[in-house]
């Protein structure tokens, strides 16, 4: 892992005597490699490594007795700071509060909707799941099964546009005392103008307090482009990272946070409906460093 590689780098360098700035370069090369192997975006790695260089030189790593540890600490601290800076607070201040989930195909939106519904219900609120995916075969059925598994009602309409469903759901929730709406949308490509416009229209109707971009933790270099597109069109309020129960290093988390500047609010660690946790930037930092 990176800690061991840096240890080796500095051990070899120290044999020659005093460390120089050029030696810090060698350490930074190892940092860069580790981040790229962890799927952090190429450009993000560049700017991040520059941050580390500035601090490493400024904090006199060259004079340190344990330069490897010092560099690791700087990298870990910078990663944690970059991905942190916010609590997993859900804005449920309105009644009804609206949470909208968007993202690429297969990211985990429908499953995450169920998890959010469960935890919101456990907080004493009365959530309503809204089935706005009218395209994927059995998508509505999937949300209905998930809803019944967590004891939360699902609102759906056959053969209607998502905007019509959203409006009807809003009316239904007001008439029946639901105070949180969780909107599941169809997976889509950020380059599909028509479907992205559908989300823009949906947002306009719902005015959601939370608009979460749901992203798969194993996403590679393209995470940045996708997240940026979704954010540009929709001004998301946060990110939910899924499938963290695998062994993907999850560098996409850093890339997305860096480029989009919105908080990663939740982390999903499994398929079961109780596996949603608040996002921990420090744990993510360790994971990315491998």
């Amino acid at each position: 892992n990176l800690a061991e590689k840096l240890q080796n780098t500095f051990t070899n360098l120290k044999r020659r005597g005093k460390l120089t700035e050029k030696d810090v370069e060698l350490a930074l090369k190892e940092v860069r490699l580790a981040l790229l192997e962890a799927d952090v975006n190429y450009k993000v790695v560049k700017t991040f490594t520059e941050k580390v260089r500035t601090r490493a030189v400024g904090e006199e790593v060259l004079k340190s007795l344990t330069p490897a540890q010092q560099v690791i600490k700087i990298v870990y601290d910078e990663l944690t700071a970059l991905m942190g800076g916010s609590t997993a607070q859900l804005d449920l201040s309105h009644s009804p509060s609206v949470i909208m989930l968007v993202g690429l195909q297969g990211a985990g939106k429908t499953t995450t909707a169920g998890k959010l519904a469960k935890s919101i219900k456990e907080k004493g609120r009365k959530p309503l799941l809204v089935a706005c995916d009218i395209y994927r075969p059995a998508a509505i059925k999937q949300l209905q099964v998930v809803g019944s598994q967590v004891g939360v009602e699902v609102f759906s309409l056959e053969g209607q546009k998502p905007t019509t469903i959203a409006q009807a759901a809003y009316k239904y929730s007001n008439q029946n005392g639901f105070d949180v709406l969780i909107i599941d949308t169809a997976g889509r490509l950020h380059i599909d103008d028509e479907l992205m416009q559908e989300l823009v229209d949906l947002k306009k109707i719902l005015s959601p307090q939370e608009l979460f971009f749901v992203a798969d933790a194993m996403t590679g270099q393209d995470a940045v482009n996708v997240a940026d597109s979704f954010n540009q069109r929709l001004d998301i309020t946060g990110v939910i990272l899924t499938k963290l129960d695998g062994d993907a290093r999850g560098g996409a988390a850093l890339s997305i946070r860096e480029v989009v500047g919105k908080p990663i609010k939740y982390a999903s660690f499994g398929e079961k409906l109780d596996s949603l946790e608040p996002f921990h930037p420090d744990r993510m930092a360790s994971r990315i460093l491998g």
């Binding site: 195909q105 059995a138 059925k141 209905q144 099964v145 194993m218 590679g220 393209d222 695998g246 062994d247």
Partner: protein, 277 residues
């Protein structure tokens, strides 16, 4: 992309960025660039256009010749489909069923995902769309039992092709990988030489983790081909180069959309050209 440019360190850095951004991976990228530099020196290459052509040639060589999903010599031809969660297994099976159906083949689909909400209902819709028959049990039943029933049905009904859907699972979950091995054993016990094909479905948006997925799934179920899905997006799926290099595992098909027609044969040359477009 390199038109009109001359050889320089900047040029090779630009190429490095293109390759890494395509999820080819740092290790593979450095190897490719090193070989490229050696060839450029040896062949006295001076222009950017020439470098690009050589690079494409090097990468196409790594991917090898085009390999298709070939019909098995015996019937029923059993195809098992595996992969991590949400990559496009069920949808790919629907597309395959439609393609075989159009060729006049009698296709049976097995709803081997007995875990995820509405998994069988989803496959049922694809079966209807592609005019294939469906074998399914209740949610929560044993997937190996579904596989067993499907295999018996394929034999009894003289089906040409049986495609077995499985639940998405992360390769790190040992018990779930054991379940997959059990499903495969049931199939091979009931039909000689089956499953003739085990396809790993890989999402083109996946980064370096794709190599881990390929390693573990191949070891567990003898995967012999990859379907690379969601290439209609902006991800390039470059990890398949490392997968071919280290595991000799070829991509045979690509998914280019959510519609029933959106399945194409994998062409290494087209793939490499797309990396630079």
């Amino acid at each position: 992309v390199l038109k009109g440019k001359s050889l320089s360190p900047e040029l090779f850095e630009e190429l490095e960025e293109i390759l890494i951004s395509a999820d080819i991976g740092v290790g593979s990228t450095m190897e490719i660039i090193e070989n490229l530099k050696l060839r450029c020196a040896k062949e006295k290459i001076t222009s950017g256009d020439e470098v690009e052509e050589i690079l494409k040639d090097e990468m196409a060589k790594l991917l090898g010749e085009k390999e298709q999903l070939k019909p098995a010599p015996t019937t029923p031809w059993v195809i098992m489909v595996v992969g991590v969660n949400g990559v496009g297994k069920t949808t790919t099976i629907g597309k395959l069923a439609a393609k075989f159906g159009e060729e006049g083949k009698k296709v049976i689909l097995a709803a081997g995902d007995t875990f995820r909400a509405a998994a069988a209902e989803q496959l049922e819709i694809w079966a209807k769309r592609s005019k294939a028959q469906l074998i399914r049990h209740e949610e929560g039943s044993d997937p190996a039992a579904v596989a067993y029933d499907a295999v018996q049905a394929a034999k009894n009904r003289k089906a040409d092709i049986l495609i077995i859907d499985t639940a998405g699972r992360l390769h790190t979950k040992t018990n779930l990988m054991e379940e997959l091995k059990k499903i495969r054993r049931v199939i091979s016990r009931e039909i000689e030489n089956a499953p003739q094909d085990v396809l790993l479905v890989l999402d083109a948006t996946t980064g370096q983790n794709g190599l881990n997925q390929a390693k573990v799934f191949k070891e567990a179920t003898e995967v012999n081909g990859i379907v690379l899905t969601k290439l209609d997006g902006t991800s390039k799926g470059g990890i398949v180069i490392a997968i071919k290099k280290e595991l000799s595992l070829p991509v045979k098909l690509i998914g280019v959309g959510e519609g029933i027609e959106d399945l194409q044969e994998f062409d290494p040359k087209d793939f490499v050209n797309a990396l630079f477009s």
